[in-house]
Structure formats: structure tokens, C-alpha cells
């Protein structure tokens, strides 16, 4: 291919030389003039151009040369087309592109060099027709569906782009399903439930996918809970204060009631012990009166919860520690005056128990002596 390019350049040069030759001949008087017009060979041409230099031509001559060059380019139009089709990089040798590159080199810009677009529609359609599948083939052989809309979304918007692809796929799938139902009713489409076969992704992989989904869900749930808790904290304090106030109020009320009771019964209490029972009953009434009042004012229900549900609600502290129960050693012990040692071997402290309570206090003189030491 480079050879054809060289040929083109040669030809261009030759034409240019012919165009300017008439002028050259009368401005210059070298021996090169005497060369015959028909056979301007490459070397001769080179020498001629060299001898001419840039200043050898006046403006008119240059204009003429350019015109000649352009004419040549037009004539060679079809040849250039062929070059483009061949797809070689020869176009860099063509004069217009060279100029473009010069300009770019001068300004040292980052604009990429302009590429020659090749779009040989005739050849493309010919090739397509040559490889095309037979039109008489039933559709089930290819299963290809066309989507009637072009996709026009912002490429950088991931969500809308994927949605567009999804829509295309969905439309195609439903279209194909309808087509099968209508025209190819014996074509197997849906897999029966009892048809088991190897899948594209293994069970192990699908399990990992499932696990990932679950994990994701759990993370979302967790963060949601956290958020709720944070929000609850804002109001939590107020609730706490309210509760404390409520409790305080309850206690005050109770005290007042008892006080009132005492005041009422003051004289009888002082009189004797005979009315003790009556007072107890009154106190009990006053205390039990409170829940009745509360239930009337709308707090809580009057019925008592069962033992079990109360345990569930308030917590059951667990069985006692059995601190006061007898143990084997305590049963055998007959010394009642001292602290019992529950559990663990008794150290026989029964007789010398008094000595156990720390060092004995010294006499006064000794204590004073120790202090002044």
C-alpha cells in the first residue's frame, strides 16, 4: 500500500511540475530547462524544485501551483476512496492532513489527530446480504427479537440506563412469549417443575448469593434499629422525668392520706389500745383505696396479674440464697453465742472466739506510751 501512496505523490509532483514548467522555463535559464517536457523523471524534478526554492516562484505561480494540485486531487478522488477502503495509514501523506498536523504541532495542542471515517455502506450491505440467514427459516431457529424503540438516556445515569435495558429485555421477552403462544404453540418455552438439570450457576454459588442478600437485609435492619433508638433517646429523658414526678406525687398523696387518718383517730389512739384493730383496718382501706382511685382515673386495670405473668413482667429474682437454713456443720454446733459459719469447714473457733475479734486493747499507760513514742 505504501507503494501506491508513493505513486500518488509522484504523480502529484509530476503534474505540478508540468503546470509550472512554462513559467519556470522563461524565468530560469539553466540547463535543466532543455529537458524534454514529456519525460520529467523523479530525480530531475527534485533537482528542479531544489533549484527553484521558495523564492523562485512569485505569488501568481504559487497560486497556479495550488490550483493544479487541487485539480489533481479531484481527479484522484476515486483513487483516494479506494485507499480509504483499504484502511492503511497512507492518508497521513496526503497534503491536507499534513497541513493539519503541522498546525497542530505548532500550537502543541492535545486535540487528537483527525481520523478518516470509513463507512462503506454499499460494501456493508453487500456483506450483510452474503451472510444473511435464509428468510424462510422459522423464527424459533434464531430467537432474535427487535425492540422498536431506540435507547435514549443519559449514559452516566446508572439507574435510568439500567432501567432502559430492563425495559427493553422485558418488552422483548413478553413479545417473544406472545409470538410463541400465537404461532409456535409446540415450541417448548416454560420449564416444567420436574425438569431438573445443571444450572449456569452452581448451588454453592447461589447459596452465597442468598447469604449475601440476607446479610444485606440484616444490615439494613440493624441500622434502622439504631436510628430508631437514637430518635427515642431524644424523648427518653422527658419520659424519665415524667415518671419520677408521677412517683413523687403518688408518695405524697399516700402520706397525706395517712396523716389525715392519724389526725382523725388521734384521740382514740391516745385513749387506749382497744381500737388498734379498727385503726389497722382504716389504714388498710386507705392504702387499698389508692389503686381503686387510680383505676377510676384511667391508670392500669384493676385485675391483678397472675403470678406467672407478674414474674415474666417484673422478673423473678430467683430462689433465695438459703442463708438462714441449717447446714450440716451448723446442726452439729451447739455454741449459740457466736456468729455461725455457714458452709466451709468450721475452724473450731468456739472456745477462743473472743480472741478472734482483733488484738486486745492494751492498758491505759501502755497506750499512752505508744502514742508518745
Amino acid at each position: 500500500m505504501p507503494s501506491t501512496a508513493v505513486n500518488t505523490v509522484k504523480k502529484l509532483k509530476a503534474i505540478a511540475a508540468e503546470a509550472i514548467q512554462a513559467r519556470v522555463l522563461d524565468t530560469q535559464s539553466d540547463d535543466q530547462e532543455s529537458e524534454d517536457d514529456g519525460g520529467v523523471d523523479e530525480e530531475g524534478m527534485k533537482r528542479l524544485m531544489k533549484a527553484l526554492g521558495e523564492d523562485g516562484l512569485d505569488e501568481f505561480d504559487q497560486a497556479q501551483l495550488e490550483v493544479a494540485l487541487e485539480g489533481e486531487a479531484d481527479v484522484n478522488g476515486d483513487e483516494r476512496d479506494r485507499e480509504e477502503i483499504d484502511g492503511e495509514e497512507t492518508h497521513t501523506l496526503e497534503p491536507d492532513l499534513v497541513q493539519l498536523e503541522d498546525v497542530e504541532a505548532a500550537i502543541d495542542d492535545v486535540i487528537p489527530t483527525q481520523k478518516v471515517e470509513i463507512n462503506n455502506k454499499v460494501a456493508l450491505s453487500r456483506i450483510r446480504e452474503s451472510i444473511q440467514l435464509d428468510i424462510s427459516l422459522p423464527w424459533t431457529e434464531t430467537l432474535a427479537v427487535s425492540y422498536p424503540h431506540a435507547i435514549q438516556v443519559d449514559v452516566n445515569d446508572d439507574l435510568s440506563r439500567e432501567l432502559a435495558f430492563y425495559k427493553q429485555a422485558l418488552h422483548s421477552a413478553t413479545h417473544a412469549r406472545l409470538l410463541v403462544a400465537k404461532s409456535y404453540s409446540d415450541f417448548p418455552w416454560t420449564r416444567p417443575n420436574d425438569y431438573f438439570a445443571e444450572m449456569v450457576k452452581t448451588d454453592v454459588h447461589m447459596e452465597r448469593v442468598r447469604q449475601k442478600l440476607l446479610d444485606e437485609k440484616a444490615t439494613i435492619q440493624k441500622s434502622e434499629d439504631k436510628r430508631k433508638e437514637r430518635e427515642g433517646k431524644k424523648f427518653g429523658k422527658q419520659v424519665q422525668i415524667e415518671k419520677i414526678k408521677e412517683r413523687e406525687r403518688g408518695r405524697k398523696e399516700m402520706e397525706e392520706r395517712l396523716k389525715g387518718l392519724k389526725r382523725k383517730r388521734k384521740d382514740t389512739l391516745e385513749a387506749g389500745v382497744g381500737d388498734d384493730q379498727a385503726f389497722d383496718v382504716a389504714v388498710e382501706d386507705a392504702i387499698t383505696d389508692r389503686p381503686h382511685k387510680r383505676s377510676q382515673s384511667g391508670f392500669g386495670s384493676g385485675s391483678k396479674l397472675s403470678r406467672q405473668s407478674r414474674d415474666v413482667k417484673f422478673g423473678f429474682g430467683g430462689a433465695g440464697r438459703r442463708l438462714k437454713q441449717n447446714t450440716r456443720s451448723s446442726t452439729d454446733e451447739f455454741d449459740f453465742g457466736h456468729k455461725r459459719s455457714t458452709g466451709g469447714p468450721s475452724r473450731g473457733g468456739g472456745f477462743r472466739g473472743g480472741a478472734k475479734g482483733g488484738p486486745k486493747r492494751l492498758g491505759k499507760s501502755k497506750r499512752l506510751a505508744a502514742k508518745n513514742k
Binding site: 480509504e84 456483506i127 451472510i131 434464531t142 444450572m199 450457576k201
Partner: protein, 316 residues
């Protein structure tokens, strides 16, 4: 080079022998494909056969890569192999310059299509999709590869089931699009005759042209809503993968060669992109260095000649 070719040939010949040994029918099929390919380039075959015989779409795709593919590219290839049961995978091609070996290889493997992944610099991936003995071939640049291994894609389908192909309208608007559509129909459409093909349709391969690029997606078709199995059939899709984006670069008339019939003027090579980025990064340094030089020059210019009444001269 000849040794590579010899080795590949040997493998292919072995495969062909095996195939021939298995049954006569298979050999006949291949003959049909060969005939139709060699005279007119048509794949439908049986043009000369008796009219009663059903027309079949016969495609076989040779899938191979060049040397130097990374794991991601390899996984993408595996995904394609697992999705297309009519694919014959071959060993890596040793040389990137000797693409004319590929038609021969395809012929030895009885394939009439080729998907050739070419890795460059261990980071750029190119895909050649070619029709085998006589072309055409499309060279594309592969970007944004997501393989099926990723856990985000939750779909699944039968191995070897025949997938639907969906092309958007962009393919019908340009001549190169039409050609690409035709070629992709051959390569990505699973023929009913493929040996490992299973009968049902449960996934769809989507090709869309957006931003002068071809976007590939693969969805599972779910007919029943898993939440309400007794309700009316409602088609939904779940992505299976892989995903990738293809930028067409050139279309050649022949198989891995020949005249260029289309070239994408918009395509910028990834190396050029990278170098532009680097140049942009280096710009700051250059600016700073230039400023330093200019300031030192100015300083030099401002310096005055030694005065006749300078302190050092007067009090010397």
C-alpha cells in the same frame, strides 16, 4: 510459529476424529455447513438438499483468547462458554500478529464463527467477532466487564438453554449496526441443533446501542412471581450476568483481515486516553517549572551594574 500451529492443528484434528467416530449423522451435518459456507457463505444449508427436509440454523463458534489475559477476562470467557452451548473453546493463541491462523483453526474445529479475545498490556481487552471462512470480522474494544461470579447478579438459568436475543432500534438505523446485528444473531443465538442445547427459554441476551457503544446484558426470565405462586403469570427479569460494553473499532471485509469497510472515528485508544490523563497530571509540574525559569530570568534582568560609588569601591 509453525510449532504453535502444528500443536493447535493436532488438537483440532484429534477432536475432529473423535467427533467423526461418534456417529455418521454428525459428520453429515458438518458437511452441510461446510458446503453452504464454501460456496455462498450462507449458513442455512440444505439449499441443495431435498425440499422436505426442515431448514436448520447451524452455527458453531470457536472461542479463544490471546496470551496474557487477566483473570477477569478469563472469567468473562468462561461465562460466555457456559451460556452458549454451541461454543468450542480452544487454547490460547500464542501470537497476536498471526491472526491469519484463526480461519485455519476454525476450519479444523468445524466452526463457522469465531470469538477471539485479544488482551493487550494486561489491561485492554479487544474482542474480534468474525464469520469464519470469508468474513466479515468486527473488532471491538471491551470495557466495564462484570462477570457472573459477582454476587450482585442474583439470576440463574439452565445451562445450555437457548436464550432470546434482543436488539434495540439503534441496530437498524445504521448499516454497520445491521451487519453487527446479523453477526451477533449468528454468534450469540443458540441453534436448536447444538448438541448441548436444552429446549426451554429462560433467559434473554440484550444488546443495546447507547452512546455509540453496544451494551450487553443477560437477564433471567421468571414467569411466576415467587411471592404469589398462584396468581396470574407476571413476567419479571433478574440479571444473571455477565455485563460488558463493546465499542466497535473497525469492520473488515475478510476473516481477520481484508479491506476495512467501517471504522469508528469516535474511538480513542485506551493508551491515548491514559497518556492524556498523565499529560494532564504533568501539566502542573510543567507550569511550575516554567514559572520558576521565568522568575529567575526576570531576577537576572533586574540586577544592576556595579556602581562607581559603591561602598566597596569608595572605602576599599
Amino acid at each position: 510459529m509453525s510449532s504453535i500451529l502444528k500443536a493447535q492443528k493436532f488438537n483440532a484434528a484429534k477432536a475432529a476424529r473423535n467427533a467423526n467416530g461418534k456417529g455418521k449423522r454428525k459428520a453429515d451435518d458438518m458437511m452441510d455447513v461446510d458446503d453452504s459456507d464454501s460456496d455462498s457463505g450462507e449458513e442455512n444449508g440444505q439449499t441443495a438438499g431435498p425440499a422436505v427436509k426442515k431448514r436448520k440454523n447451524k452455527q458453531r463458534v470457536l472461542l479463544l483468547s490471546s496470551r496474557g489475559v487477566t483473570h477477569r477476562m478469563r472469567h468473562l470467557m468462561n461465562d460466555i462458554e457456559v451460556l452458549l452451548p454451541h461454543v468450542k473453546k480452544d487454547s490460547k493463541l500464542d501470537s497476536k500478529s498471526q491472526l491469519q491462523l484463526l480461519p485455519e483453526l476454525a476450519d479444523l474445529n468445524n466452526c463457522n464463527n469465531t470469538l477471539y479475545f485479544e488482551a493487550r498490556r494486561h489491561e485492554d481487552l479487544y474482542l474480534w467477532a468474525a464469520k469464519m471462512p470469508n468474513g466479515p470480522s468486527i473488532k471491538m474494544h471491551v470495557q466495564n466487564v462484570h462477570t457472573m461470579d459477582e454476587l450482585k447478579m442474583t439470576g440463574n438459568c439452565l445451562k445450555g438453554s437457548r436464550g432470546l436475543l434482543s436488539f434495540d432500534k439503534g441496530f437498524d438505523e445504521t448499516e454497520w449496526g445491521k451487519l453487527t446485528k446479523e453477526l451477533f444473531t449468528h454468534i450469540f443465538g443458540v441453534p436448536s441443533t447444538a448438541r448441548k442445547a436444552k429446549p426451554f427459554v429462560d433467559h434473554i441476551l440484550t444488546f443495546s446501542i447507547l452512546d455509540e457503544k453496544i451494551w450487553f446484558r443477560n437477564f433471567q426470565i421468571i414467569e411466576k412471581d415467587p411471592l404469589s405462586p398462584n396468581g396470574p403469570p407476571q413476567t419479571t427479569l433478574v440479571e444473571i450476568g455477565p455485563r460488558f460494553v463493546l465499542t466497535p473499532i473497525r469492520i473488515f471485509e475478510g476473516a481477520f483481515g481484508g479491506a476495512t469497510v467501517y471504522s469508528n472515528p469516535e474511538f480513542v485508544t485506551p493508551a491515548a486516553v491514559r497518556s492524556a490523563v498523565r499529560r494532564e497530571q504533568g501539566k502542573k509540574y510543567n507550569l511550575r517549572k516554567d514559572a520558576e525559569e521565568a522568575s529567575s530570568l526576570r531576577k537576572e534582568q533586574r540586577r544592576r551594574e556595579e556602581d562607581e560609588l559603591a561602598v566597596s569601591k569608595v572605602f576599599a
